[in-house]
Structure formats: C-alpha cells, structure tokens
Amino acid sequence: MTQPILFIALPLLATFFTGLTGKRYGKFQSAVMNLALAGTVLISAYYVSAFVSGTRQPYTASTAGSLPPFSIAFRMALPEALTLLLINGLGLLGLSALKTTFRQKGTLSAVTYLLYFMALNGIVLTRDLFNYFVFIEISSVALAGMVLFKESGRCLKAGFSWMMATGVISIFLILSAILIYVRTGALDIDNILLTDPLVLYSGSAGAFFLFLALIFELKPFPANGWALDVYENASPAVSAVFSGAGITAGLFALYKFLPIVGDRWLFPLIIIGLVTFLFSNILALKQHIVNRMLGYSSVGQAGLIAAVFGMGVLSKEDMFFIAASLMAVHALAKGGLFWLSHHTGYTSVYEWAGIRHKPLFIFLLGFYIFALLGFPPFPSFFAKWSLISALAAGPYGWMMAAILLGSLLEAAWMIRWFGFAVKGNEQTANEIQKTPPVYTLVPALLLLGLILLLNRSRFAFILTNAWIPLLFITGFFLLDFLPARVKNTFMIGGLGLYFYFLYPTLTEFRLIFAIIFLLGGMILLLAGYHYKGRRIGFYPSSALMYSGLVGLLTAGTTVEFFFWWELMTLGSYFLILRGKKSLPHALSYFLFSMGGAYTMLSGFGLLAAANQGSLALETLSSGGPFQAVIFILLALGFLTKTATVPLHIWLPGAHSEAESDVSPVVSAVLLKAGVFGLILLMAGMGPQSLGRVNLYTALGWLGAITALIGNLSAIFEEDAKRLLAYSSIGQLGYVLFALAMMNHLGWLTATVFALNHFLIKALLFLAIGGVVMRVKTRNMYEMGGLIKKMPLSFISVMIGIIALSGVPPLTGFAGKWLSYNATVLSGWYFQGVIINFAGLVTFLYCFRLIFTIFLGQLKDQHRQVKEAPFWMMVPQIILMGVILFISTVPNVALKPVGTFLTRYFPEHALVWDGPMARSLYGYWNGYMIMLVTGVVFAAVFFWLFFINRKAVKIKQFNIVFAGERPSRPELTHFAYNFFAPYQKALGFLVAPVSTDFWNRLSEGTHAIAGFIARLFSGNGQSYVIHQILFAVLVFFLVLGGI
Amino acid sequence: MDYVIQELKTLFSGQNFEKKRGDLLFATLDTGVLVQALKHLRDMLGFRHLVLITAVDWIEEDLFQITYLLRNYTQKTDVGIRVFVPRSNPIMESIHTLWETAATYQRELHEMFGIDFPGSPRVNKPFILEGWQEIPPYRRDFDTKKYAEETYFPRPGRKTHDPETYMKQKLYPDGTES
C-alpha cells in the first residue's frame, strides 16, 4: 500500500541519510539518491497504472487525521500521477547528468537536487494554498542553490536576480493566500471553491495576487528576464530539470488553482500566454546561445500551455489531451535537448557543427526538435491539430494566428540550429568525440511510448493505417548501419511492394500520382546505387518522404492528410539539407513549407468546424460560410509547395543545392505533392469566389505569372541546377494555370504537364547531376564541349530539352497543344498568351543548358572527364524510353486520363481515334507526327551522310577565327551572360521583388527581436520593475473590462 | 616658347635648346632627367599629348637618339625632347607610367632597334616581326637588301636602275638637259 506522502517522505529521508554520511558523494550516496527517485518514479507509475486500470479511485489524503483547513491535503488522481511520473522520471535521469557535479561539490549539492524534486512533488500534490507557497519557496531556494553548481560570476548574478524576483513573487503569493483566507475562511482548493463564487471573485485582490503569482511562476513575457538568465547561465543539466520538471509542476499548479482565480481571469491568461509564446520565439530568433534559446522556448511553451488552460472553448477532454501532450512532449524533449547541450558543452549555435559526425547526436537533436515543433507522429502534433480545430469552431482566428505564427518562429530558430548542427561551418567547432550517454536516449523512448499512449483513442488511423509506413520508416532508422546499396535495394523493393499492394485500391488521380510517387521514386532511387559507403541518414529521410507522399494518396481524413503532409515535408527537408551548401536554402524551404502547412492546418480546422467535427476529406465540398476562406487557406498551403510566385523563393536554392540524386526527387516527385493537393482541393471544393473575385481566375493569372517569372529567371541563371529549378517554377505555373481553368481540357493539360514535368525534370536533373558530379562545378560557363566526353548524358539532355520546350514530336508538344485548346475553350486568351510566351522563353534556357554545357569548347581541365556514372545513367535511360514511348503513342497514357476526367467534367472531352486526338477545335496525331518526322529525318540524315562520307574529323580549335588561331578554350566559349540582350530588354521583369519582400520581413522580425532583447539587461532590479509593471498592466487589463 | 626653353634650361640639365619654328622647339636632355622633364612638361606646361616616340641610329657616334614629341593643344605648340643612349647598352627608362600609349611605341622601338625599356608592358612580345631572329632591322648595320634577296625568292628578271641616270635617259633620250 502506498501513500502520496511518500513523494515527500522518500526524498526527505534520502536527504537525511546522505546528509548524515558526510560530504563525500560516493557510491553509497549515489545509490541512495537513485533509490529515492526511482522509488518515487515507481510509485507514480503504480498510481498511473492503478488509475488507468481503474483499480483505484482518485482520493485525497490528509495529514494528521484532521481535515482542512487544519491539515494539509494531498490529492492523488490520474493527472497528478502522470505529472509526478514525468517530473520524477526527469529527476531520475537528471541524476546521471549531474553525477560529476555532485562528486565535485559534495553531498550537499545532491541534497539540494533532491529537495528540489521534493518541492516539485509537493507543488503537484498539495491542495493547500499556503502549502503551495511553502513548496514554491523550497523549490526556488533549491533552484538558486543548483544555479551555483556552475562556478561563474554570471551564475551568481543570475542567481541573485532569481532570488530577488522570487522574493517578490513570494510576497504576492503569501498576500494572496492570506487575502483569500480572509474572504473564504479556507486555504484548500476544495473548500475555497465551496464558497459562493460571488464572494470570492468580486474584485478580490486575493485572486489578483494569486493569478499574478501563478503566472510569474511560468515566467510571462516580458517579465521573465531573471528566468532566462538562469537558463542561460546555469549548468544545462540544471536547466534541464528546471525546464522539464519545474515548468511542468508550475503548469500543473496553474491548472489546479485556476478555478479559484475564476473565469474572469481566463481571457487575460490567454493573452498573456499567447503573447509570451509569440514574443519568446521572436526573441529566440536573435539568439545564438543555445541555452538561452532553449530558455525562451521553455518560457514560450509554458505560455502556450497556460493559454490552453485559459481556453474555455475547449472541452475538458480536449484540454486535458492537448495540455498533457504538450506538457509531456515539452518536458521530455526539452530535458533531452538541455542534456545534449550539457553533454556537448557547446554554448553557441555555431559550435554545434561539432556533432556533425555523430549520427546518434544528430538523431537525438532532430528527434527532440521535431517533437517540440509538433511534427507527426509525436503527440504534440495531435495536440496542435486538436487545438487549432477547436479554435476554428469559434471566432478565435487571432488566437489561431498567434499560435501558428509563434510556432513558425519557433520552427525558424530551431531549424536554424538544427541546420547549423548538421551543415554549419565546420571550422568554428571543436569536434566532439563522445557518443551521447544512454540517459539522453530515454526521453526519446518515452516520447515514442507517448505516441502510443496518447493517441490511442482519438487518432486511430495511426494504428490502423499508418503502422506499416511508420514501421518502414523506423526500420530504416534502425538499419542505417547497413551499406547504402543494401538499403537502396530494400527501399526500391519496399516501394515496389507498396505499389503492388496499393494498386488495386487506387483510382483516377490517386493512381497517376501513385505512379509518379512510387514508380518514379523507384526509378530515381536506382541512381542511389552509385553511392558507396553507408550514406547515413539518406534512407531514413527518403523513407519519411516517400511514406508521407504515399500517405497523401491513401489518406481518408484531413488529419491523416496533414499527418502525412508533415512527414513528407520533414523527410524532404532532411534530404535537401544533405547538400553541401544547402543550409540556408533548406531552412527557407522548411519555413515556407511550415508556413504553408499552418495555413493548411487552419483551413482544415475551419473545414472541420463547418462540418461538426467531421474529418473526412469528402467534407471539402461543404465548407459552410467560410468556404472561400478555407479554399484560400488550403490553396496557400499547396501553392507554397508548388512554389507559386511570390512563394517561390525557396525553390531555386533548395533544389539546386541538393545532392545529385536528390534534386531529381525533390523536383520531379516532391513538387507533385502540391499539385495533388490542388487537384484534391479543386475537385473537392468546386468553383469559389470571394466577394466578386472569382478565385479561379486569380489562380489562373497567378499560374501564368508564375510561369513567366520562373522561365524568365531561368534564362538569366549561370548555375545549371538553379536554371532547372527556376524552370520547375515555370512548369508548375503551367500546371496551376491549367488546373484553374476547371474544364476537361484544362485538367487534362494539367495532368500532361505534371507527368511531363516529372519525366523531363527527373531526366534533366539526373543528367545535369551526373555532369556536375564529374566536373565538380555547377557554373555553366565553366563547362563546355562535354558532348565528346559524355555523349549519353548529352542525349539525355537533348531529349529532355526537346520535350521540355514542347517541340513536336516529343511529348512536351501534347501539353502545348492541349493548353492552346483549353485556352481557347475557356476564353482565357491573355493568360494563355502569357503561358505561351513563357513556353517560348523555355527555348532560351533549354538551349543555354545544352549549349554551354555540352557544346562549344571543351575546357583543359575536363579533357579526362568520364561519362556520368553507370547508375546515374540507368534511370535516365529508362526515363528516355518512357518519354519516347509516350511521345509515339500518347493515347496509351492520355486516353484513360480523359476517360476518368469525364466524371468531373463531362463536357468537351477529347475524342480518341486510335492515336488521333480530336478536340472541339483541332486534332493531333502523335503517332503520325513521330512517323513523318522520323522518316524525313532519317532520309535527310542518310542523304547528308552519304554525300559527306569523306568529311575529315577535326578538332575543337580548327575553327575559322579571322586568320588567327584560338588560344585557350575559355576565351572561345561563349557562355557567360548568355542572354544579355534579353536582360537588357526584359530583365526588369525578374527584379527580385519577392526575394526583397521576404528578406525585409525576416530582417524586420530580427530587428524587432533585437529591440526587445534590450529589456533583458541582466539587472535584477530591472527584472523586478518588469514584474511590477506587468502586474500593473494586468490589473488595468482586467479592470479595463476585458 | 621662350619660357619653355627657360624653364627647361633652369630645371633640367641638357644642351642644344633650339627653336625650330615659332611653335616647335627641340632640346637634348640628359637621360637621367628625361622622365622628370616629361612629367614637368605634361603637368606644368600643358604638353599633354605624347605624339610619338622615335629613334635614330647614329652608328658613327655609337649612339641611339630617342626623340619624344609632345604637343600642347591650348597653345598649339610642340616640343621634341631628345636623349641619347649608347648603342652597346641601349637601355632607356620607360615612360608608360606617364602615357599608357608609350608602351606601344616602346615595344616598337624594342623590336626595331633593340632598345630596351625595362618594365614597359609586353615590351618583349613580338609586335610586327613575329619570330624575328636577326639583329633588329632598323639598325643601320642590318643589310635589308641582302636579307630580302636571300629570303624572299626574288623573281628573276627584275632590273634595277639608278633613278637619276635612268630617268634622265628616259625623259631626255637625246641627252639635252632643260
């Protein structure tokens, strides 16, 4: 039989015993400490299991056999038990991190640590206001003691400020206790709540002070400088428990005492919480000291959870779920992060590049960061989802906005950190030799456990639908030690099996995209055989991405869709980050993706609200009064993924800096996810207009402009892969334009464009990637004449550009033909003209691509370059085969598409007569075109070959050069600033307007952060002033009638 | 013009300051002061244009004469500065720092006379005579006619005449003059 008092007694006893054994912290003392905390962990675990299984009922234990107010009451129920498990678990793990400290500092330091946990346990358990005050003070003093574990002046200053601020809080708290007691005659929650609420709440100073004290314990912005100094300066191992366990206890106290404070204070609580969340993350942006950043994050998360407590709209169950998930994830992840920081000993973000070559460190860092950011499959993801959905049901758009904006900012600095760790400048970092000790892994395992625990009831699809893909992903994480080729085989096999099993269940667009995602992925993965060694991290990321992509197809509900969407983003981010110089580009990719995902999330939330909480994707058709808004929000999410102007600036960098076999994947395959989303959205929601603006017309114009800007930017690019990336922007502009037409031909065009883009861009990126691999540069003007060294790559690129530019007889022409027909059909003449002009511009960069790389003069240093690697060529050959096949018999691919499109748009379908397609306006026979062109071409070729059979093969400098001879290849190769006249005439169209806008935005945010950060001077007095001003502000806020 | 002579005389060592015309004067300066003198002429006296640099081979005196011709556009006057360098060791200071065009003249002089201008850009690169292997052709000890006859396959049957007697004969076959 256990008693809640054990949570106090065990640590106290251990304290006594260790205290008695002298100052030396030896094995015995360590064992005692471990035992005490392990005991509390066990007991709380027992309680959790007992409450969950129902063998025990929640009950209140009083001291000394009497009842409150003359005794202290401890309440034990499931929330308490869970919180205690969390807190004490962290305490137990934290012991290992502090072992060396205890050895140096002696038993007394260990005792401080135990006392801190004793106090936290008390805070959680007690029902008594004054008792709460006592425990708070013990925890504060204990923490101040632990700050001294690290001997530095800064620590001392932080500790002093801390004590000053806590002193003020203690005054507030004790005043509130006595005031409430005076009014109600009770000190314990239950009895206080029994009194008439009117008596309690009527402008009671007690409630006000209590509210302040509770809030201050959570360090609200901007009155939180003292806590941040502690986070920054204390040993990270201390910060870990301070953040993980301390905040959890504080939040629990808030949850517990909030009823006393009363409903009137809920709204201020939300505001304070959200402001704290938002501004903490803004401030964290400007930071580069990891511990302080994590401090801001802790403060911000606490604010968010506090705000959740204040949200009356949430049902009890929802609130419990959201708060519990967020709290648990925060505690474990933050603990894990602080311990990692403790273990590496790095202070600045830039130093974190030192963990570069330690996969386990990287894994843990990523794991905790993405858990904190609310990525699937972590509970925080579902919490965020539920929160946004719940808020969407009411007029709480601003709350949604604040939460999502804050999350975005949080993502910004966290991902930057992660990026620096993985890809930062290596020179600034001392490499770390150790591997992380086991205990840092434990929170990760616990988080994994939480996934199962917390999601069981509400998000059942994880268990029913998602476990195979998740197992697939986990498998690759576990098998990462295998050689790359083995994993590649597994991956290809896995995708093949996936397709085999999925094939019967998929129809229509889902089937097309499954072909692109899975079969396309398989073809592109063949290139992976080229890589030797282990390629750590590549396959887990790919598994994440492919699973995410396929999940989009199988998703039946919005939450499922979003789940996979986020996984896909995550995987692709990791893949892009693998590039050599991809750090900033991966970051901007991720941020844009997150921004898009958050607008999508709000859209889904509104949708669910309009459908009484139904999450099925079919509900897209019934958006209620907010239909247009939902449409815009969701469309924004997808348009970010398809890189539509002005949301396109992430794409060129991200796609070009990725590895040679990643670029084709992210370009050819990944972008289609956005297209699929758009199709889903448009098919689901139908025509939309906002006010008098037809949204589809707007989308059409947007597509046309994107196509033009993307293509124009491509022709001025010196970097081959960036050129292709810009070209992708343009191509997806076509797709958007075609989709927005909302008629049969338009959608057929879009499908053709999407398929073509997949085939061609995969081919080109692979070919160019192979070339780049060999010549080790991406600047086209540094290449030239490579046709002699890489004839196969040349053929790839040639087929690619002929198809890309839409010249008959290859498959690109199908898209052009359809787009003309659709343009005339829908009456979008001017957009159509822009699209076709963009199509012409394609010629320019296509020629540039092939000329400057393969034709012209071969450079000195490339004279011994070999053909691209075999395994890079294999997928290219397959893709070329597919392109030629589809070009010859387009009906094989297009007829089925047209057939099912008639379900959506029965009118104006193409009529197929063998390989001959007839539209309302024209006709086109791909087979015949191929035949005539082929015969003529062959005839002329043989004729020329015959009459010219004696031609002497000469070399590259045997050119007419005005009687001179060329001296160096560089001087004879025209490649730099290739389209100067075009630049002169139309260059103004590609002025980096969007880039400037986004840059200014980010600079502005940083400037704000820098401005606010001046508040935190490190002076305890100013912190106390903040506190008091904050109190005054809250006072007026509430009195002001909010 | 007189003040130019005056200034040159007072500032720089040299001889033969002679006024050829009202707007043209020549002076012979010591090689050591040449650059300073040219700089002075350019910056102080307004002779901003380097018209040419040329050389004369005084084989009898064993000297090369280098002439720098400058022009003042506001006063429409010219100044020629001569310096002498020994044939045996023909080195002259380069003035490409004053006029960039001088580099080309100096390159030409180097090629044609073998006068060296250390530091002048591309001065050693062949200018007109790609692959020339004889002594520089403008030196008077180089026998042009002999070289041409040995090298350029003269077409047989060519007759040469002394112009004076030939023209006399041709114009006044009867031998009567005037």
Binding site: K788, L920, N925, V932, T933, K950, K953, I954, K984, A985 | -
Partner: protein
C-alpha cells in the same frame, strides 16, 4: 486517316515544286533588290548554281556528330513543316500529311529545325555561332507573341484550329479572307512575320560583318548546301502557312505561288527601307506595337 502510298508520291512532287519555287522566288527577289539599287543583280537562276556548287564541293570537315545533325534537323524541320501543311485547298492529295496535326503543330514545328540547327551550330565550337543563336532565339520569342495573339484571335474567330477548316471558312470571295474579316489579327501576324524572316531590320542574327553570318559560320560544302535547300523550302512553307491563315489559302498551284510571292515581298519591302535593330530594341518593339495590335485583335473579335 489512312495512309496511301500515293500520298508519298504527291508529297515528293509538292516538295519538288516548292523547292524550285523557293529558289526562283528568292532569286527574283534578290534581283528586284538589286534593281532597286540600280544594279543589274544576280541571274534569276543564280541560287541553283550556288546550290549545285556547294553540293559539288569535294572536301568537307566535320566538328562532330551534332555538326551533322544540325543541318539535318534544319532541313527536316523545313520539310516537316511543309508536309504537315495543307498546301492546296480542295485537293485530296496535296493535303500532304496535314492530318497529323493542326495549327498548333505547325507553329511549334517551326522550332524543330531552329533548335536542331542551334545544336549543330553549337557543336562547331565557334563563339559567333552561339552569339548568333542567342540573338536569333531571343528575337524569335518576342516576335512570336503577336503571332500567338493572332492565332488565338483567328482560332476564336473561326472556332477551329484546323488549318484546312480555316481556309475553308475563307472561301467564296476576297472579302472572306481573314485579312478583311479580322484585319487587326492579320496586321499583328504580319508584323510578327517580319521577325521570323531574318530580314532587315531584324537580321542582326546573321550580322555578316560583326559575327560572320552568325549560326552557320562553320557550315560549308554539303552542310551549307543542305541549309540552302532548307532556305528555299522553309520560308516558303512559313509563307504558305500565312497565306492559308490570312489570305484565303489557294485552290491551285498558280494562285498559291502568286500569293506566296506577294507575301514574301512584304518583309523584303520592309527590309530595303529600314536599317537594322539591335536585339533588345527589336524585343521591345515586338512587345509594344505588334503586341498591342494583337491584343486589340482578340478584344475586337
């Protein structure tokens, strides 16, 4: 559409006709140009001689496989463009292979040869070739805009993209020609036509003194002969397309030749009257007046 072997024969016949017509028309045009400059000018059959001579050159050098394929692409582009076009309206056989595709095929097939030629010229490794191609491509993209506008305008006007149907709609009198039913589109297209004919003021591509003849700098002997063959066929094919679209097509060869000749004179007239544009100037020019006229053409259908 079923295939008959006779089609092949007729295709070859029409190809032969158009080759000769092209050579002679261009010879005559140059003669006219010379006469305007008070010269006697070349003989009308001079182009035949040049063609024969070039085919008769004994030696040739090759820069590589694409150097071969460039002219091949170019000539196939020209021949293909011609073969995909209905030449004589109402004739069963002189439709050639126009059943393979419509107007859009023709407008895009124009680029087949251009792109291939660009590749061939690129392989020669001569910088002037590349400069010429960038100029050509840049200018062409701009010149196509009025043409696209005009094509959309007439597609909307006739509700079809089939060239045969467009010609059919223009039968029955001169006033039924697009020239009169849709003058704005015709003007826009004719202005665009100037840009695609490589004549002054849009001939900076070849700029003989500056970048000796541009793309084909390195082409000689038989390669050049093939290009010359194309130069006879390709402008003719393009002109026939315009005749079909805007000038009522033709029901027999003489009418076709007369119309082609007259239309071919249009860029010649402009060419002798105006000096040369730089590329950026011509891009701007195409994007101003002709584009405006094209937009008006669509607005006033």
């Amino acid at each position: 559409m079923t295939f008959h072997w006779m089609q092949l024969v007729y295709a070859l016949v029409s190809l032969f006709i158009v080759l000769n017509v092209g050579l002679i028309i261009q010879g005559i045009v140059r003669k006219i140009g010379a006469r305007l400059g008070r010269r006697h000018g070349i003989r009308w059959y001079q182009l035949y001689l040049d063609l024969f001579k070039n085919y008769a050159m004994r030696s040739a050098v090759s820069h590589g496989i694409m150097f071969y394929l460039g002219p091949v692409f170019r000539l196939s582009g020209g021949i293909g463009l011609f073969l995909f076009m209905p030449v004589i309206y109402g004739s069963v056989w002189f439709q050639n292979f126009s059943g393979s595709g419509d107007l859009i095929l023709l407008t895009y097939f124009i680029f087949f040869g251009t792109l291939g030629m660009a590749l061939g010229a690129g392989e020669s490794g001569h910088p002037y070739s590349a400069i010429g191609i960038t100029r050509g491509l840049s200018q062409t993209t701009a010149a196509e805009i009025p043409l696209i506008l005009a094509i959309i305008a007439i597609a909307v006007q006739y509700q079809t993209l089939s060239v045969t149907d467009i010609v059919a709609a223009q039968q029955g009198g001169i006033l039924n020609w697009t020239l009169f039913t849709n003058p704005l589109a015709t003007i826009a297209a004719l202005l665009g036509f100037l840009g695609s004919m490589m004549r002054s003021p849009f001939d900076v591509v070849m700029a003989p003194q500056e970048i000796p003849v541009g793309p084909p700098t390195e082409f000689h002997s038989n390669f050049l002969a093939v290009l010359q063959t194309n130069r006879a066929i390709f402008p003719m094919a393009k002109t026939i397309l315009y005749v079909n679209l805007f000038f009522g097509g033709a029901t027999n060869w003489p009418v076709l030749i007369i119309k082609v000749f007259l239309l071919y004179m249009w860029p010649v007239f402009i060419g002798v009257a105006f000096p040369r544009f730089r590329v950026d100037q011509s891009i701007r020019w195409f994007l101003r007046i002709p584009t405006l006229i094209g937009i008006l053409a669509i607005l006033f259908i």
